[in-house]
């Protein structure tokens, strides 16, 4: 009697394993809500971003290069199903290169485009940072409410202006990050020709036609220096409602980009065959468990 019960139990477990496997062949998926991210990365490509103030082994020293390397590392860590678009900022405007696309499936392409971002793509040379952030916010808003803006800049305004233009959006309507790039100590800005060959550094003499008289040095210093203008960026962060992060290591960017408050939920069709197959495997193993001698 004991044996008969045992037998039927073995039969049913094998039958269930067979049924589970038969379901597997229909390629079942479950629509599951997954936390993912939808980012528009806008990168400042004005010439001050060529200044070198990062000193980390294996990473570029110039601001733009460091930003690119940091984004590349972060792309790798974003969960599949997340979407990323790239844009550029110079003068008063932000321009989108491509709409956000899924990061895992298009990774090589996104990485290649990121790699090619260059200060020479600038359509003009000025840097009106506040206007750049405002237009980037507009571009982000046009791409749907769950798109987050991540704006990379050293915050340097050129030519200097006494105050930011007024922000006509609603603070916090678009969430995201302002990422401050560069160091606190002023460094010279390399002057490069169209082939990226160094021509020295930018000097006040070269810029005197663009700078107001008040901005010219009185102490006779000649190099036009640049540092991370955190004051400007934190003020912009307060007016726009974007978070602020100082880019110190690529890891800090990755951590900030994976923050919970920036997630959005997407329904992703998850392949569940492996779960069914594992269950079938367990059921099959049951047959070989130690038996009581009857």
């Amino acid at each position: 009697m004991n044996l008969a019960v045992n037998l039927s139990w073995r039969f049913w477990s094998l039958l269930s394993a067979v049924i589970l496997l038969a379901i597997c062949l229909t390629h079942p998926t479950l629509p599951l809500k997954r936390p993912v991210f939808r980012y528009l990365f806008v990168i400042d490509i004005t010439q001050s971003m060529n200044a070198s103030d990062y000193h980390q082994a294996g990473l570029p020293a110039d601001r733009l290069g460091f930003v690119k390397a940091s984004i590349r590392q972060a792309l790798d860590k974003l969960p599949c199903g997340s979407e990323v678009g790239l844009g550029l900022f110079t003068t008063r405007n932000s321009q989108v290169l491509f709409e956000p696309i899924e990061v895992c499936g298009h990774f090589p392409l996104i990485a290649d485009v990121l790699d090619h971002i260059d200060w020479r793509m600038a359509w003009a040379a000025d840097s009106h940072i506040a206007r750049g952030v405002y237009t980037a916010l507009r571009e982000t808003a046009a791409r749907g409410g769950d798109t987050r803006l991540v704006f990379f800049s050293d915050g340097q305004q050129f030519p200097p202006e006494p105050d930011f233009p007024p922000f006509d959006g609603k603070p916090g309507a678009i969430s995201g990050l302002l990422v401050g790039v560069g160091g606190s100590l002023p460094v010279p800005i390399p002057r490069l020709d169209k082939e990226n060959r160094p021509l020295g550094f930018w000097e006040y003499v070269d810029l005197r036609d663009y700078l107001p008289l008040s901005a010219m040095p009185k102490d006779g210093s000649s190099l036009y220096l640049s540092r991370l203008d955190e004051q400007a960026l934190t003020r912009l962060s307060a007016t726009t409602g974007l978070g602020y992060l100082r880019l110190e290591t690529p890891e800090s960017l990755t951590r900030a980009l994976l923050a919970r408050n920036l997630t959005t939920e997407r329904i992703v069709a998850v392949d569940i065959r492996w779960m069914l197959a594992s269950l079938a495997l367990l059921l099959l193993l049951q047959r070989f468990q130690p038996q009581r001698v009857t």
């Binding site: 003009a124 495997l281 193993l285 070989f288």
Partner: protein
């Protein structure tokens, strides 16, 4: 052809496949005088085949859970498979409509929005082609390298509809477009599809260098010129020729001197633009051999199918078991 696993750790589960070789999957029957029974080769054979089946079943399940797949692979196909670089004007004049009226920031009928929409449809219809995208105004912008990832191309082409900035400077845009070909073997037609609403003067040295590059890369050029209806036609010599007032006429002359297949299409309204794109499409429909990348193919289904066969055989054996 190469095989890889999405979840290689699951292969460790395959070790479980040795269990049936040491343990019996059937309940034992108590029998008083086992030694008296003759050895039965058939029974032994059945016993071993059941064990092997179970072992194989476990192995195949582990393989399936490890998700084997064939890596992306290149296959040769006959089709159009052209390499097309889209060189699209993003200067500020592209924010206007065809009659030259400036439209505000959210306008839906600017030249750039129309061009982006029609180009996206063009890309959708050309499923076998490779596309690269260069945007240009004062400087060229590397938007996408030559790729068959049409979803990405579509996302880049749609982004071209955004607001443009800066002046029109065609030569560097064309140079960047041609550079996209240099890393690629010549496998089919190479096309530079220039979409712009204006032109600019070109330095003689730049013009010569560009001509050389067009010839080196054996690329054809199509120019979709988004013309202001009041503006001059490309083929008609302007009344008072001057390269700074009618640069498009001179650019057209220059393109004709490139020594590569060249055709210009003038469009001064949406319909004409659509027609121009359709014409480019019919021109580049010569079939040729090209290579296409096949996406990775999942192989776990085969493992599950094979495991199912093993389990069904086990189930049959189970049904035939002596029930006491």
């Amino acid at each position: 052809m190469s095989l890889a696993f999405a979840q290689p750790w699951a292969l460790l589960l395959g070790l479980l496949a040795v269990i049936p070789l040491f343990k019996r999957g059937q309940p034992t029957l108590a029998y008083s005088s086992l030694a008296r029974l003759p050895e039965d080769p058939l029974s032994l054979w059945i016993d071993w085949s059941l064990r092997v089946l179970a072992s194989l079943g476990l192995l195949l399940l582990a393989l399936g859970i490890a998700e084997p797949y064939l890596r992306e692979q290149w296959v040769e196909k006959i089709g159009t498979g052209a390499h097309i670089v889209l060189v699209v004007d993003r200067s500020s004049s592209m924010n206007e409509n065809f009659s030259g009226t400036y439209l505000g920031g959210t306008a839906h009928e600017t030249k750039s929005v129309l061009a982006a929409k029609l180009l996206a449809e063009f890309v959708d219809r050309r499923g076998q082609d490779f596309f690269a995208v260069v945007a240009f105004s004062a400087a060229p912008i590397y938007v996408l390298p030559l790729t068959q990832d049409h979803e990405a191309v579509r996302s880049a082409v749609l982004a071209l509809g955004g607001r443009g900035h800066g002046i029109t400077n065609i030569a560097p845009g064309l140079a960047m477009a041609l550079a996209h070909f240099s890393a690629q073997p010549v496998t089919g037609s190479r096309i530079v599809l220039l979409v712009s609403d204006g032109a600019a003067r070109m330095e003689p040295e730049t013009a010569d260098a560009l001509r050389q590059q067009f010839q080196d890369h054996q690329a054809s050029l199509y120019w979709i010129y988004l013309r202001n209806p009041k503006g001059g036609k490309l083929a008609e010599a302007p009344k008072n020729p001057n390269e700074s007032t009618t640069p498009e006429y001179y650019l057209h002359q220059y393109f004709q001197s490139l020594g590569v297949p060249y055709q210009a299409f003038e469009a001064d309204n949406t319909l004409a633009l659509q027609e121009a794109i359709t014409k480019v499409e019919t021109l580049e429909n010569h079939p040729l051999k090209y290579r296409q990348k096949l996406p990775r193919q999942d192989m776990s289904g085969i493992c599950y199918g094979a495991a199912l066969v093993c389990l069904l055989a086990l189930l049959a054996g189970q049904i035939l078991e002596v029930n006491t």
